[in-house]
């Protein structure tokens, strides 16, 4: 039963076995990112259109063929309206649409010498070609941005009689800008996809934990019942009951350990989970706060070892089935761990005798180990029993 539960608990193997790889091209999060980008582009299209129309109207006396120029501007207005509608739905963002978008931008560049004459300075579409370039970058990433940029730049430069410094600069920016925007879109989509996968994993883990809780609760109920009835029936049934009790404890510890897995930093350990391994039904009771108590892994392990040594001592000096209690209290800067038994106490002088004989008694060993952690260990003993009080700072001594 224990192994079955462990299978349910571990998440990594299940994930890699059942989840297909999620593509950053098609994942819903990537599409959502792209939708957002194209919405922004729709706004940009209008801005560059207004800019282009205004410039062409302002320089209308530059046109050799004013009617042809007006037709070009009209084409830009119509295409902008159509493109805004067409790009709004991801299903319409086909190669045909993007191809047409770029082709129209290129065509408007090509007709510029016709309508404006060979010695033109500014092309008819001007910055309006940016819209097609960015659409390519968003849809086909850095490769698309680079291709569209190269095409637009090449056509633009090849039409000019004289290439000025600023013409070259603009063309260079088109090429570089297309590639950079494409690369950024890709990164955004990949990040959104990664986050979507992580969120889905978290939701799955939570659901798995919820199911595991239901399963575990059922198993625990039965184990507790077997344990209880077994004890009442006696004989072989009592042995069954004892085994059920062991499994119950083990399962409960696993559940706690599982709950702690997601919360703590890698180099720290939840001392509550560690200490719960010491619990033994009927003999050792472990009391802790209800929240995780994070300690550096080395400190937690050492404290656990010390607590175990204290309990071993109880079994040795008081009895195999002697009851003992472990209490953990957590404060902001330190933890207090006490281990108590109801035994006859340590006879006066025994510890001193051990020290005088040159033997390093258990008590000294415990004190030494706690001192190494920068803490203190106090021993109270009498006819009421023996009690260790260990106080250890939460940040381990660096020594």
């Amino acid at each position: 039963m224990g192994t079955t539960s462990v299978r349910i608990l571990s998440s990594a193997p299940i994930r890699s076995a059942t989840l297909p790889r999620v593509s950053s091209w098609t994942s819903p999060a990537a599409v959502a990112v792209q939708d957002g980008l194209f919405r922004a582009l729709a706004v940009l299209r209008v801005i560059v259109l207004v800019n282009a129309v205004a410039l062409n109207v302002y320089r209308s006396d530059n046109f050799d063929h004013p009617v042809g120029g007006a037709a070009c501007v009209g084409t830009m207005v119509l295409w902008t309206a159509f493109a805004t509608w067409a790009y709004a739905d991801p299903r319409r963002r086909t190669f045909l649409l993007l191809g047409a978008d770029l082709a129209i931008a290129l065509a408007l560049l090509v007709v510029t010498p016709v309508v404006k004459g060979d010695g033109f300075h500014a092309t008819v579409p001007g910055f309006w070609v940016m819209a097609a370039l960015l659409a390519w970058a968003m849809q086909y990433r850095w490769v698309g941005g680079l291709l569209a940029g190269l095409l637009l730049a090449t056509v633009d430069l090849s039409l000019r009689q004289e290439v000025r410094q600023s013409d070259y600069g603009n063309a260079f920016l088109l090429v570089i800008g297309g590639a950079i925007v494409g690369f950024m879109c890709q990164s955004l989509q990949q990040m959104a996809t990664a986050r979507e996968v992580a969120e889905r994993d978290a939701a799955m883990a939570a659901e798995r934990a919820r199911l595991a809780r239901a399963v575990h609760d059922g198993v625990l109920q039965v184990l507790a019942l077997v344990q209880r009835r077994g004890r009442e029936l006696g004989g072989d049934a009592a042995e069954l009951g004892r085994l059920a009790g062991e499994q119950e404890r083990e399962l409960r510890r696993l559940i706690r350990a599982q709950e702690a897995v997601t919360t703590h930093a890698p180099d720290t350990v939840d001392l509550v989970v560690e200490l719960s391994t010491l619990e033994r039904s009927g003999t050792v009771t472990v009391s802790t706060p209800g929240v995780p108590v994070e300690l550096p892994a080395a400190t937690a392990r050492e404290l656990l070892a010390v607590a175990r040594a204290c309990l071993d001592n109880v079994r040795l000096h008081v009895g195999e089935d002697a009851p003992a209690w472990v209490l953990l209290q957590a404060f902001p800067d330190h933890v207090e761990l006490s281990v108590r038994d109801d035994g006859p106490g340590i006879p006066a002088g025994r510890l001193e005798q051990a020290a005088a004989d040159g033997r390093l008694g258990v008590a000294e060993s415990i004190r030494g180990r706690v001192a190494d952690l920068g803490g203190t260990a106090e021993l109270v003993t009498g006819d009421f029993g023996t009690e260790w009080e260990l106080v250890v700072p939460r940040r381990a001594a660096l020594a």
Binding site: Q227, R229, P289, L328, F384
Partner: protein, 220 residues
Amino acid sequence: MTEPEAPLRVMVVDDHPLWRDAVERDLVAAGLDVVAVAADGREALARFPAARPEVVVLDLQIPAPDGVAVTAEIVRQDPDVRVLVLSASGEHADVLAAVKAGATGYLVKSASREELLSAVRRVAQGDPVFTAGLAGLVLGEFQRISDAPTTDPAEPSLTDRETEVLKMVAKGLSYRQIAERLVLSHRTVQNHVQNTLTKLQMHNRVELTRYAIERGLDAD
């Protein structure tokens, strides 16, 4: 322990039939009157008003509404009812939530029949049934409250003596042993333990009220 003339009226809430029957059988065999049983939270809340039990023995992991919600609701309806929580998983958060909601006792399900009967009787008399584990949880909770950056002076906190007593309970000392060590009467020790529970429940109400005010839910 003086037995009242009328048998103690108990209600058992557990979704596992095997368990419910076992607990019911044990209680009846000991001469208690099981006035109602319920398999889930809805049944429990439906049957509670008519059954008028003195003690509700309640499993925390039941179909909705869960044990914590049931505890809060029946204690609201009848502040004199005593709730003894049984939990198989012993989940810290659940147990603490139930105690905050008004439960006065907690037992793991693997406890023996004698432990269960004794717990039911003690809870009926108004004694909180504290396991060492529960005391550790409550201690931790008060520590957490006092560590919180915004400590309201009006908020209930434990006296030094209450902390001392609670710590001893968490270390497994019986009330008798604590009374001996601190030279107090058994009753005084019980009162201290009772006070810690009352304060924890009070703190819970303060927290809920503050939450409601912050969320603007008090505006009616």
